[in-house]
């Protein structure tokens, strides 16, 4: 097919709003196709399909969220049609709604932020049910007994071999680290207080876990870097933990042309103050650090007012949330590996803390000078559901809209953050970077996030004319156009037309197969045999995710050379 004459934004290839054609054949972008349909995209915005690098879309804790929230499921109900299964839910949509809603937004790729190895079969069962988008899942390692023991013993090669094994066992794509050490301490109801606080019973510290997993990640030359949810997330004053963590890993080099560490949903980790009374934003300090250290990247974790469901492998945090808010609370510890919590809540415009949190996300985005170090997310559904991405984008592009919003919020949003003074407005090039090009690069997906020859034929056309719409003034138009793609094209097939789903292909699931030296693999195996014999509640032979659960794999090879 040929997408004719649209205003193309393809930052990876230096294209900034040129009117040009994009040609797709055999599911890939080509120079010239041999024929096919023509789509008239004149007067419209053309971008690569969106890439969501961090969202909680599949697996045990997402389903816990559904099971405990029938009141959420009954929102957002759309009945079945000839083509579509029914949709339900707002913060915890059913699998079909996930795929349909991403596609309508113009997203064609989404990654599950955290899958525990033992329950990855479940993660993949749900990923298989999410239509249209390509997907993957990041595997949790930061509280795993084998990891803690390798760190304790200083055995980096064995750790790398275990990470490779864990990615295979979970059919995972990358190394996810959440409140390292804290998840293990939670096994007896505790937590870690900082990066140097030793983990009970294992004697290693969170920063040691982080450093070792980062190094193992680089030994294996994985496409993505280690992906970190910091310790002390959500606590007033935690920006110090965030900065201390980054400073403590400045010396580590990436094995590939990418960042060495990605810090996720940074909004929740950019807090100042000593308690809720003097809570304030430290986004400028965080952004400033990133501006001076280009080996790190982050994603936003923006708050959306209204209903949200917090769900994270930071189980002690969730318990704290539930007590504070008198909310219902689900918890799930996973033997030897991780723990997680789910707590529904509502973010209020007039709640001082929420108003400041809302400002912080935007500050981080606007104060980080290089958009390639930044990804727009809401940490769905922790900050809010991903269907609200157009809201966030329109805020990034319009100072006037930000001012309107600030006026409707509790005054502390203005007083405890620097947002009112920020003039910067992102342009379409910036937006294309923070929603497509940067996430693809940061995740290490060379065929995503751009429209150069060889890229996947994932293209979005939005019905908005960059030549005559000023996003700064017409932010309502921006939000409206981005909420319903004129066309979403996935692998060269039109899946959305005029905001309606017209095709439901199955996407592919990325996972990484990393090779390691045989002797290291054997050492890992020996450890695991013992763990399964003594501690796990299942047999080792039943543990790994089988082929049947990943029917459309996209395997990326990596490993020790």
């Amino acid at each position: 097919m040929i997408i004719k004459g649209g205003f193309v934004y393809d930052p990876t290839n230096g294209v900034h709003g040129e009117e040009m054609d994009i040609c797709i054949e055999g599911g890939k972008v080509v120079e010239k196709p041999r024929g096919g349909d023509e789509i008239d995209a004149r007067g419209m915005l053309v971008m690569p399909g969106g890439v969501d690098a961090h969202a909680h879309i599949a697996g045990a804790k997402v389903n816990s969220g559904r099971i405990m929230r029938p009141e959420d499921a009954r929102r957002g109900i759309e009945p079945r049609t000839k083509l579509l299964r029914p949709s339900t839910g707002y913060t915890v949509p059913n699998c079909y709604a996930m795929g349909y809603r991403y596609a309508r937004l113009g997203y064609t790729c989404a990654f599950e932020a955290a899958t525990p190895i033992l329950e990855s079969r479940h993660t993949h069962e749900e990923l298989e049910e999410i239509p249209i988008v390509d997907k993957g899942a990041l595997t949790l390692f930061g509280n795993n007994w084998e990891v803690l023991e390798c760190v304790r013993d200083g055995d980096l090669d064995k750790l790398a071999a275990f990470v490779a094994w864990g990615l295979l066992a979970s059919r995972g794509y990358g190394v996810k680290v959440v409140n390292p050490g804290g998840g293990e301490a939670w096994g007896f109801g505790g937590n870690v207080k900082g990066i140097d606080d030793p983990v009970p019973n294992f004697g290693v510290t969170p920063i040691e876990i982080i450093r070792n997993l980062m190094k193992a990640n680089e030994i294996l030359r994985l496409p993505h870097s280690a992906h970190l949810h910091t310790n002390n997330l959500g606590k007033p004053g935690n920006y110090e933990t965030t900065l201390a963590t980054l400073k403590a890993v400045e010396d580590i080099s990436a094995s590939r042309n990418r960042q060495v560490l990605h810090v996720t949903h940074m909004q929740f980790s950019a807090y100042g103050g000593t308690g809720w009374r003097d809570f304030e934003s430290k986004a400028p300090e965080i952004a400033d650090y990133f501006n001076r250290h280009d080996q790190f990247t982050m994603d936003m974790g923006q708050l959306i007012f209204g209903s949200a469901t917090t769900m994270t492998a930071d189980a002690p945090l969730e318990y704290g949330n539930a007590r504070l808010l008198h909310a219902k609370w689900s918890n799930h510890d996973i033997e030897l590996e991780e723990s997680s919590g789910v707590v529904p809540l509502v973010y209020g415009r007039k709640m001082p803390i929420n108003a400041i949190q809302w400002a912080i996300g935007l500050e981080l985005a606007l104060l980080t000078k290089n958009p390639w170090q930044f990804i727009m997310t809401t940490d769905h559904p922790n900050g809010g559901p991903f269907v609200n991405y157009p809201e966030v984008i329109s805020l990034l592009m319009s100072r006037a809209k930000r001012e309107e919003e600030l006026a409707s919020l509790h005054e502390l949003a203005s007083k405890r953050s620097s947002l009112p003074s920020i003039e910067r407005e992102m342009d379409w090039n910036d937006i294309a970077i923070v929603t497509r090009a940067a996430p693809a690069k940061i995740l290490g997906l060379p065929e995503k996030g751009h429209l150069g020859v060889g890229a996947d034929g994932d293209v979005t056309i939005y019905d908005i004319n960059p030549a005559n719409v000023d996003p700064s003034k017409d932010h309502k138009k921006v939000k409206g156009a981005l909420a319903k793609a004129k066309y979403t094209i996935k692998g060269g097939e039109v899946v959305v037309r005029d905001g309606e789903i017209v095709a439901v292909p199955q996407g592919r699931t990325y996972w990484v197969e990393a090779s390691v030296p045989e002797n290291q693999a054997a050492k890992v195996k020996a450890d695991l045999v013992e763990k399964f014999a003594k501690y796990y509640s299942i047999q080792m032979s039943n543990y790994m995710v089988q082929d049947a659960y990943v029917t459309h794999p996209r395997v990326v090879k990596a490993g020790v050379i």
């Binding site: 405990m68 929230r69 029938p70 009141e71 959420d72 009954r74």
Partner: protein, 259 residues
């Protein structure tokens, strides 16, 4: 007053969902248009006239002047009066589940008995039942914090279990008995029970429950004093103390919770 009569053409086995039988919806329509209104019989979409005989005054009127008369067996017809804001519905016999769902105003008068979830998530208006009501009178939807937020429900007979679950406002009066756990998890509102109740006000955060008959009271309720209200001597309790609740429970006679 514009009077419209709705009479079932037969007995229903598979339930009928008729949330469009409401003064708000009928008001601007002629009888012919009312007959074409969509209702569901199980999984079959029907026109109202397929299942019911419609008759009455033909001219569209103001909603507050509309009276819908339900004549016959409506015990399997659900969601009548859903979200209505004004006008009146009279059921001459029994009515099915979810009558007055999300009602915001107007009146529903039921001469027979009402099915479960009467006045679910109600916000205003008034429902009266001469007979009995089922379970979950004035309750909420699963998982929600609040059920009924306003309005009045009066039941002259008895009610089933979980009366006023998650009550946040409004008044529910039952002249007969209420079943198990009336007023559970409520955060406001007033419940008056003429007869007996089992473990009223469990998890109550605030609100008032009066049992003029006999109640089995939870061990997490604390006796305060004995008062006289409307000529009846009532024991006053504070609870539910498991969650530092500040609700008031009055009971005329208390079943021994130790036994």
């Amino acid at each position: 007053m514009r009077e419209i009569r709705v009479v079932p053409r037969r007995d229903f086995r598979v339930p009928v969902e008729a949330e469009k039988i409401s003064p708000d919806i009928f008001t601007p329509l002629t009888i012919e248009e009312i007959e074409k209104i969509e209702v569901w019989e199980g999984n079959r979409k029907r026109a109202l006239t397929d299942l019911f005989e419609i008759s009455g005054d033909g001219d569209p009127a103001k909603p507050e002047e509309v009276l819908i008369k339900l004549e016959g067996n409506f015990s399997r017809v659900k969601r009548v009066g859903e979200k209505m804001t004004c006008g009146r519905i009279e059921a001459l016999d029994d009515i099915g589940m979810h009558a007055g769902n999300g009602m915001a105003g107007g009146e529903i008068a039921i001469k027979g008995s009402a099915g479960d979830w009467l006045g679910r998530e109600m916000r205003g208006g008034r429902i009266t039942v001469l007979g009995d009501a089922g379970d979950y009178v004035g309750a909420g939807y699963r998982g929600e914090n609040c059920g009924m937020r306003g309005g009045e429900i009066l039941i002259e007979g008895s009610a089933g279990d979980y009366l006023g679950e998650h009550l946040c406002g409004g008044t529910i009066t039952v002249l007969g008995n209420a079943g198990d756990f009336p007023g559970i998890a409520n955060r406001g509102g007033v419940i008056v029970i003429g007869g007996d109740a089992h473990l009223p006000g469990a998890e109550m955060a605030s609100g008032t429950i009066t049992v003029r008959g006999r109640a089995r009271v939870l061990p997490s309720y604390q006796y305060q004093e004995t008062v006289e209200i409307d000529g009846l001597s009532l024991k006053k309790f504070l609870g539910d103390l498991v969650d530092n609740g500040k609700g008031e429970l009055y009971a005329a006679s208390v079943e021994d919770g130790g036994a």
